[in-house]
Chain length 501, copies 2
């Protein structure tokens, strides 16, 4: 077999693998967005049955041999094909010792975790999730144990999975830098910041109006309507099944219309990334290999840097007035801008303002580190959570649903959270580069988000799946990650908003 | 291996098969209720990839041998186990010559048909569906050709699949009887019936109110809330993935609130059946083997015999007033009852009244017979459709979306339609038996639908999956199918409603 014949055969095998990956992904979507409560256990088991076939496809000797051979000798392969082989070889190495039986058991445990978490969250009772939680931590550790090559320490392995090259040392320094400037500013705002009008934020806003506004926002962001779906779930997320089927989810709260707006903008950012990698990435099986921090860079970029800007609020204000009708008739553009930027230490990460957001993330990072490295047990998580919320944010956590059960992430992934804070920092650094090429906020003010998307496609999406985070940010901005852009941005924005010296 | 050991192993294999069947079913649900337009082609192919595994499971030598051996020698098996073997043996015989390749191609063709139909229906352009339509008819015929034992004629084979023992001769007689009494009554109403108030039927009713009413109706019917989901789609249907995950779908029309009410009651009837077979049926792998006419018996029972009764309208009237608010303030209980029973020959089957409904079905029966038996080509369907609508119902079909493209059925099944008319007839025959046991409409008037459900569970659901339609109706009512109960019911109801002699 020539290398070209091998590639051809490999593509056939990958097509089949991806059909399974997409289908299992859709079944997971179904569990999160459609299935009734009583159907979840069966769904968890059924998905694991399909997972067995997926495991057998990714562990088939023919497939593994093709990867190993092409990894050993890549003569005549294009750069993209070499990258694809590299990515698959890496997955192969991580997964080669995971047996079908272990994968099945692990799948069942992870698939069932969501239902248990949902139950516990609704009942405000951590004990209902405790066993499931402990079990998926154990499976995560066991899966790491089975790897031949891995970084020192379980949490470092998790971090490296999500962010190639990432580790505790790097993140300790990163969060250290953030903490040093964010916490004092937060306190200054609390004691000396001007009062911002917020009475209208809790006015009831009917869900159909909110939904219409969401659809409008996704359109403004530039999503292809015939390839995008908007649905609701407990904890908003975005997923896709090829570039022609992207699913954005949100959660409407009748008495908190702002929540849905920024959640939709955020998820819409993920969706744009999923829909706009280069066509040859999809065709060549390298798409969707960006890191999570890259993904969060884009989602947080649309949510905050654009979405919470004066210029964006100016552009969407007429639509807001139209849909809000009488309810918001007395709210000026300036008041709306200020209100969606109110900074206040609070309980819920997804509702947090830009300034306090990374502190929420840091708390999760610090706790994950403890339980993944075995320094605390699962049972100690709620208490540690509450302690850290009091220490950093000065808030008392009234129950675990507003505490350590608030996020869906710990039903499936450990080491993901830092991506959000990294994304915040990458985002501002990229924005400053973008601004050298065109008047970004001039465009935003006129709703010309196609200019933003065009730039991101050309400079950012075009290389994400084929670079490490460090290669990526250097290629875009000419320097490594530098959190000062982000911290300067926060300082400037919030000092101006709160009229501080 | 003893027979008990064989059964044990067979159950393991069936569990795996059903995990696939449920998963593929959910992916189909996803295509109908969630997926964006551009995602449909990929979904169709992915489902067929999973279908390959399903095919290999149902055609695995180990599985086939177990079925054949236990069919040959069923010593020591319980009656239910024998029934299960009988059902699986029958499927085995029908499918044994269907190769993996043929199944895959057929799957792709059928899976793609839905997307094409939806496009054509939206565009009011039959030509967009024509090729897909022709292709799935061909595949259906080829699949029948591959069977060793089958009735004479393609359409007879389809009819027998849906209704064991059903054939053209029986259905010609059945529809002949219907036609003879329904058509003259229909004309009499048109010329001499009293005028019924209907101005309020097209008043705009916001979708959230309609949705709230749907949820209320499903609750009144007696569905388990934590095991039931309500969603929307183009053409309402119900499906389930085990008894703990039943999905009801509907379609809201802002200016036709009645449509959703009876669609929901109808689909809720299906859902009740799916949720309430005996536990040992689910455990023993015999559940869900009722015929389609049995299923339509229940759905039409709830939609019409209960749903459109004076007593049911009496019971739901307060809730209707509460949700309808100002819009329907001037509508009396009597007016509501009369309006939801207006009989008028029209274009759309799912919106048809009880009297004309079976005529819509008869038209489809007559056309299916023609194209399945090769007497007309696909291209001749729209014209024949329009001709028959004019002949029987006296209405001109303005476009194919309101004509032969209106129903989803011809994207997947031929021979299903007669089930609706049979269900209408079975339903009244069963109702007359039920009334011997308790005051059905006395209970309905008080909303005590648990009495109805209890009776159906005991007498109807308890034997459906393990009897032929003929055995079933005899066991319940003591006589074979007798359409006169249904025709007498129609005569009585509509003469009274329209004040005819």
């Amino acid at each position: 077999m020539t290398n070209q014949e091998k590639i051809k055969r490999l593509f056939e095998l990958l097509s089949e693998q991806e059909a399974y990956a997409r289908s299992i992904g859709k079944l997971n979507f179904d569990m999160l967005c459609c299935a009734p409560e009583e159907g979840m256990d069966q769904a968890a088991e059924d998905m694991a049955v399909l997972g067995k076939t997926y495991h057998s496809l990714t562990h088939a000797p023919e497939y593994e041999n093709l990867i190993l051979e092409l990894h050993e000798n890549s003569e005549g392969l294009t750069d993209l094909q070499k990258k694809m082989i590299e990515q698959r070889f890496e997955s192969y190495e991580k997964g080669k010792n995971i047996s079908a039986e272990f994968a099945y058991e692990m799948d069942v445990a992870f698939n069932k975790a969501y239902g248990k978490w949902l139950q516990a969250k609704k009942a405000e009772d951590f004990s209902l999730y405790r066993d499931s939680f402990a079990s998926i931590i154990e499976y995560t550790k066991k899966a790491i144990d089975l790897r031949e090559k891995k970084p020192e320490g379980y949490y470092n392995a998790c971090l490296d999975d999500y962010e190639k090259g990432g580790n505790e040392e790097q993140l300790d320094a990163f969060f250290g830098a953030l903490k040093e400037r964010i916490l004092p500013l937060m306190k200054e705002i609390l004691s000396e910041g001007k009062k911002i009008r917020e009475d209208f934020l809790s006015r009831p806003c009917p869900i159909p109006q909110q939904e219409a506004f969401s659809r409008y926002l996704l359109e403004v962001e530039g999503l292809r309507k015939t390839a995008t779906v908007l649905m609701t779930t407990e904890h908003p997320f975005t997923d896709h099944y090829g570039p022609n089927d992207v699913r954005v989810t949100t959660h409407y709260f009748e008495e908190n219309f702002v929540s849905n707006i920024f959640s939709t903008l955020h998820e819409g950012g993920h969706a744009l990334f999923m829909q706009n990698e280069p066509a040859e990435f999809y065709e060549g099986f390298v798409a969707d290999h960006m890191s999570n921090a890259m993904h969060e860079t884009i989602s947080r970029f649309y949510e905050n840097l654009i979405g919470r800007s004066k210029e964006f609020i100016h552009f969407v204000y007429p639509k807001f007035k139209e849909l809000g009708g009488e309810t918001f008739a007395d709210v000026s553009e300036e008041e709306l801008y200020e209100a969606v930027n109110i900074s206040r230490p609070d309980l819920i990460r997804t509702e947090a303002d830009e300034l306090t957001y990374s502190i929420h993330v840091m708390i999760r990072y610090e706790i994950e580190k403890e339980f993944m490295n075995g320094n605390i047990t699962v049972d100690e998580i709620p208490e540690l959570w509450n302690k850290k919320y009091e220490e950093y944010l000065g808030v008392k956590v009234p129950n675990d649903s507003e505490g350590c059960l608030q996020d869906v992430h710990w039903t499936g992934s450990f080491g993901y959270f830092p991506s959000y804070a990294l994304g915040n920092a990458y985002g501002v650094q990229i924005l400053r580069t973008m601004e050298k090429d065109f008047d970004v906020f001039g465009a935003v003010k006129e709703g010309k988000l196609d200019l933003v998307l065009g730039w991101l496609k050309e400079k950012v999406f075009s290389i994400a799946s084929v670079t490490t985070p460090d290669e990526w940010i250097r290629a875009i901005t000419g320097e490594p990650l530098n959190p000062n852009y982000y911290l300067d941005y926060l300082e400037e924005k919030y000092r101006s908003l709160y009229q501080l010296a």
